[in-house]
């Protein structure tokens, strides 16, 4: 089981580097994150003892980049006919899905590691709340995992990576806008239940509560459930093709 997952992980993770996509994505991530932190997050104006300016925009950066990481995972297998080859190997669907998901998630970890120099540099100039920063990195990783699972699932429904990217982006945006004021106001004069449901489904509000330093079990559960749900749907969609 573990060896098979590792083999699929290595294939997909290596594919990011073989195709040159990894270098491009790391560069884009660094530029987007820094632009968002310095210009959108008022990095120099605020007291960034917890790198809030940097972490605050991570969901937006991930929403743009993670669908690009996941779009080819299944779509290319279908496009080039290798899905037939892969599904005739002695692998469980769970192993296949886990290997591909871990490759995308692992790459997100690499992207986050690329931001560590910002942490190190800021630490030269002020005293940082390192515990809070570590927890914020953990929150980013959890959020990235949820988006990777969504992206993987969407990719398994399409044979075209561009379609997979757009569809995954749409689903990720949906998770973000569900709590927007205009939606709440337009829905049945904002009944309490509706507001509570939309708030509990909103990606950003869970993320914001986590990077603010509160250890919120509900938010951690939200990301874990979203990840598991995405992966389960991915396994089901692969199995569905068989039937």
């Amino acid at each position: 089981m573990t060896r098979n997952v590792f083999n699929i992980f290595c294939k997909e993770f290596g594919s990011y580097f073989r195709s040159g996509m990894a270098y491009f994505m790391l560069m884009i991530y660094a530029v987007l994150s820094m632009v968002a932190a310095f210009f959108g997050g008022y990095y120099f104006q605020l007291s960034n003892y917890n790198l809030f300016s940097f972490f605050y925009f991570q969901p937006e950066v991930f929403t743009l980049l993670i669908p690009a990481l996941t779009m080819k995972l299944w779509a290319d297998e279908r496009r080039y006919g290798t899905l037939e080859l892969l599904l005739s190997q002695p692998l469980g669907y769970t192993e296949l899905v886990a290997g591909k998901f871990l490759a995308a998630w692992g790459f997100c970890l690499l992207m986050l590691l690329a931001s560590v120099p910002l942490w190190m540099t800021t630490a030269q100039y002020m005293t940082l709340d390192n515990q809070n920063i570590l927890f914020s990195y953990f929150s980013c990783l959890l959020a990235a995992g949820a988006l990777c699972a969504v992206g993987c699932t969407v990719s398994s429904f399409s044979a075209n990576p561009v379609t997979a990217y757009i569809a995954a982006l749409a689903v990720c945006l949906l998770l973000k806008v569900v709590n927007f004021d205009f939606i709440l106001k337009s829905a049945a004069s904002g009944s309490d239940l509706f507001i509570r449901i939309s708030h509990s489904l909103n990606f950003d509000s869970h993320f914001a509560s986590m990077i603010s330093g509160q250890i919120n079990a509900g938010s951690i559960a939200y990301f874990i459930i979203l990840t598991l749900l995405g992966l389960w749907l991915n396994v089901v969609s692969i199995g569905y093709k068989r039937s």
Binding site: C10, Y80, T82, E84, L85, S88
Partner: protein, 243 residues
């Protein structure tokens, strides 16, 4: 080695495979013949677990494809018609990946790599990316990937499609040789291939098994003892009956 019993598969109203039963023994090369749309590829996809059957059983070396899928698939290898490869990998990386999926140890992989490189003349392209290979080398790399773990059951869809006469000759000789110790199924439209390689012919028409015989006996069905005429006679007879 392979037992197929009362196998059926429909796509909507189209019955692609209709109550097909046969048993293949070790040391046989079997040609799956039939006109376009006869159900050959569907039958192969059912055997390789890519599709699930509506009804019927498939047992590979005693393992049921539904209840012991991983065990059953560990005994077979399949090369789809497209000869699908991972284009961003080199030939070596591809073969290493395929060996990894079969849990081969390093020594076993190296031994088989050396053997297959010689037999399929891949030594010159072993470090070349798959996307840069000619069609002939792509077919041979796909075949090498399928043979890297020396499967007991080898399933090939149009194995010599797109190859030049010299390559066809060497691949046919190799498959013939491999089939002496193992079970090989080939799907083909080329009658000379059937005569050159097959010990047995399974003829499908409209999803039904219409003949299970040897190439010699198939030839005897027509006065001119020609396998192509016999094929036409059997499949047109089947079409007439169906109409």
């Amino acid at each position: 080695m392979l037992l197929v019993q009362n196998l059926s598969k429909s796509f909507g109203n189209i019955r692609a495979v209709d109550n097909v039963s046969f048993c293949l023994n070790n040391g046989e090369v079997t040609a799956l013949l039939g006109p376009n749309g006869a159900g050959k590829t569907t039958l192969m996809r059912l055997i390789t677990g890519f599709y699930g059957a509506d009804s019927g059983d498939i047992r590979i070396d005693g393992c049921d494809i539904n209840t012991a899928r991983t065990n059953a698939l560990s005994k077979l290898s399949y090369v789809p018609e497209t000869g699908a490869l991972y284009n961003d990998m080199t030939v070596y990386e591809y073969l290493k990946f395929m060996a990894g999926l079969r849990n081969m140890d390093e020594q076993g992989f190296v031994d088989n790599l050396v053997y297959l490189s010689r037999q399929l003349e891949l030594s010159g392209v072993i470090n070349q990316r798959c996307e840069t290979l000619s069609k002939g080398f792509k077919r041979r790399t796909a075949l090498a990937g399928a043979l890297i773990h020396r499967p007991k059951l080898l399933i090939l869809d149009e194995p010599t499609e797109g190859l030049d006469p010299n390559q066809k000759f060497s691949i046919r000789r190799f498959i013939r040789e491999y089939g002496r110790r193992n079970t090989v199924i080939i799907s083909t439209h080329i009658m000379e291939e059937v005569e050159a390689m097959a010990d047995r012919v399974i003829l499908l028409n409209h999803g039904k098994l219409v003949r299970d015989t040897s190439p010699q006996e198939l030839k005897l069905l027509t006065p001119d003892h020609n396998i192509e005429t016999a094929f036409r006679s059997v499949t047109e007879e089947g079409s007439g009956a169906a109409q």
